[in-house]
């Protein structure tokens, strides 16, 4: 990331405010436009069944992106979420026979602890977060390979994670409900406690936040803990859908998750953004993914699209006044 950050606090002129209000709605506009476009391309798309299916695919992505958003809001990045989720699916699949219903909270707890470890390494050793989590990604994948013996671990008795496959009121998948509740919980928790201002202060200007007495280090470690816990929860959702855990099962969710965060409009430089935006971003990314085959584009373009989206969205949301030198 950027190494040198101007210490002046961000000044938001009136014009800037107008612009932020507009960009705030951008993900929602994109979402509406996508749904409209897909409905025109395929009238069957706007039926309850296909919408439910799309929402179910989106659930793990929403949770992953929401957790990592906190880290991005603090000005860092967590590249290990997908690898951590993969490792968690392996743990969950291995632990369900012994722990039963306790396996789910255990996995989420372990994932949160791994998040704390990475956060502590980042804060205490003063290593840039993307290096810590890049190293973490490599380490976690290796652990997942060794623990699982590089193969898929089947879940024979899936009664303990089956509840995620139920439908609320017959229509809304339980996993989607859980994802939305998690996002709401994080958002409310930020709102009613001083955490909101701590997190954005850390993201906007870390030195100023430190001087003002914000517990910057704890906030950052906390953000990594939430990010880890969310990766664990996403893993539970994946296992409930696939009835197995695998050492690379969630690895292809990293790019969509990062794309969801930046498409939602959370600035990669920190401070500006919210978890709700990432929810919208995750829905946009999912719709793009399910939408490509509908429009008749081969799914190989998916990767190209993610790459382009990430670069363009980061360029659009970047707070250019804040960063003098981009590395």
């Amino acid at each position: 990331m950027s190494t040198s950050v101007a210490i002046k606090p961000p000044v938001e002129p009136a014009v800037g405010k107008e612009r932020t209000r507009l960009t705030g709605f951008m993900p929602l506009i994109a979402l509406a436009a996508l749904i409209a476009a897909l409905t025109i391309a395929d009238p069957d798309f706007l039926t309850q069944r296909s919408l439910t299916a799309a929402a179910r695919t989106a659930a793990p992505l929403i949770v992953l992106a929401a957790g990592a958003t906190l880290v991005v809001l603090c000005g860092g990045i967590d590249l290990s979420i997908a690898a951590l989720a993969s490792l968690s699916t392996v743990f969950l699949a291995l632990w369900i026979p012994d722990l039963g219903g306790l396996a789910t909270p255990a996995v989420i707890l372990v994932a949160a602890v791994i998040g704390v470890l990475q956060g502590a390494a980042h804060v205490l050793l003063r290593i840039p977060s993307f290096i810590v989590t890049l190293g973490g990604m490599s380490i976690l994948s290796a652990v997942a390979l060794v623990v699982s013996g590089a193969g898929t671990v089947r879940v024979v008795d899936d009664s303990t994670v089956k509840w995620l496959d139920l439908y609320v009121g017959g229509y809304v998948p339980m996993s989607v409900m859980v994802a939305v509740i998690v996002v709401a919980l994080i958002a409310v928790l930020l709102k009613v406690t001083p955490l909101q201002s701590w997190v954005s202060a850390t993201g906007y200007s870390e030195s100023a936040a430190r001087l003002a007495g914000t517990p910057v280090d704890l906030v950052k470690i906390g953000a990594f803990a939430v990010s880890g816990a969310c990766a664990g929860l996403a893993a539970v959702m994946l296992v409930s859908r696939q009835f197995s855990g695998g050492p690379t099962m969630a690895d292809n969710l990293l790019l969509p998750a990062v794309a969801a965060i930046v498409v939602g409009g959370t600035a990669i430089t920190g401070g500006h953004g919210s978890v709700w935006r990432s929810l919208a971003g995750a829905l946009v990314v999912t719709l793009l993914r399910v939408g490509l085959p509908i429009v008749g584009v081969p799914s190989a373009y998916e990767q190209i699209l993610y790459g382009a989206i990430i670069v363009v969205a980061v360029a659009l949301t970047l707070d250019k006044s804040k960063v003098s030198i981009i590395k």
Binding site: M1, S2, T3, S4, V5, G75, G76, I77, A121, H122, L125, R126, I127, P128, S129, F130, I131, V132, L134, G135, G136, M137, S138, I139, S141, A142, V143, L145, V146, A150, E206, S207, R210, L255, V258, I268, G270, P298, A300, Y301, E302, Q303, I304, L305, Y306, G307, A308, I309, I310, V311, V312, V314, A315, L318, K320, V323, S324, I325, I326, K327
Partner: protein, 298 residues
């Protein structure tokens, strides 16, 4: 240490196999070193290598089409690497996207392009020259090892004697000073990324020669291994320190370590884990002396 633990490790054959196995990593690391010297980072190696591997395997004699461009195909693959590299560079200087994000995106684009070219059927190469690279030996080492040595030499000459190499160092050391003294750094940044892309392109060609087929996953893991090797060799991720020769030593160290661990009986699956620990530890060791000064770390 490994020599003491495993008699097999001491053999001449093993030394030879370490050097041969290090060839591709050495080329990729050579490219990434220049980017790291500037203080940027490059995560695009995997995608670029995948795209160039597919390109070269479809352009030389193969089982998918009638192309037989031979050497020209290799040149095209390397140029494709250049194109991807300059894409990262332009995203960095024009769009001001931080390099790790830009290169993450470019890597995805590269993998996507590779998947498109793969089209479900694996192209097996039958080009005798490219196949001979991995098999034929000259003075005991495979041609690939000699190509890697040549790349290191070229990299070192560029780093030492050209403006590009000198400025890459200076950008990493003190970009503000360089800008204030009237140097236009932006073209050099793009040039460095382009240059690095050429090395990844060549790396992809070399992997294709080893495997005898073009695979989308040709570059899997090389991006991170290359960063590990460069960091172990003493190139700082903050820039301004290190060099191609440092990295070459780092490559050998990493290869000796992974080869040694396998010989001692550690599961090869741990390789990525060991690399992760090394990177974090090496970066931490480099940062600790100035820990009190840098209060802001993103």
């Amino acid at each position: 240490m490994f020599a003491a633990l495993s008699p097999q490790f001491r053999s001449v054959d093993n030394v030879r196999s370490i050097v041969d196995a290090a060839a591709v990593l050495a080329v990729v690391t050579c490219g990434i070193t220049f980017v790291l010297m500037m203080g940027s980072i490059d995560l695009s190696a995997a995608g670029v290598m995948g795209a160039s591997a597919l390109t070269v395997s479809l352009l030389v004699a193969n089982n998918r089409n009638d192309n037989d461009f031979g050497f020209l195909g290799i040149v095209v693959a390397v140029l494709l690497g250049c194109a991807f590299g300059s894409l990262s560079g332009f995203a960095l200087v024009l769009l001001k996207v931080p390099s790790f994000m830009a290169t993450l995106g470019v890597s995805a684009i590269g993998l996507g392009v590779a998947t498109l070219m793969f089209a479900g059927v694996q192209p097996n190469i039958s080009d005798t020259m490219l196949e001979s690279w991995a098999i034929e030996r000259f003075l005991g080492f495979s041609y690939l090892a000699w190509i890697a040595a040549a790349c290191i030499l070229v990299g070192w000459l560029i780093q030492r004697y050209t403006r590009l190499g000198r400025y890459a160092f200076a950008i990493g050391g003190a970009e503000e000073v360089l800008t204030l003294s009237g140097v236009k750094v932006r073209p050099y940044k793009v040039a460095v990324f382009t240059f690095a892309g050429a090395f990844y392109g060549l790396g992809g060609v070399m992997v294709t020669s080893q495997l005898g087929a073009g695979l989308v996953q040709a570059g899997n893991g090389y991006d991170f291994s290359a960063i590990t090797a460069a960091v172990v060799g003493g190139t700082l991720l903050t820039g301004g320190r290190g060099g191609v020769l440092h990295s070459a030593v780092g490559v050998l160290l990493v290869m000796v370590l992974t080869n040694g661990l396998v010989q001692v009986g550690v599961s090869p699956y741990w390789q990525g884990g060991v690399e992760g620990v090394i990177v974090v530890a090496a970066v931490a060791a480099a940062v600790i002396p100035q820990r009190r000064r840098n209060q802001v770390v993103k």
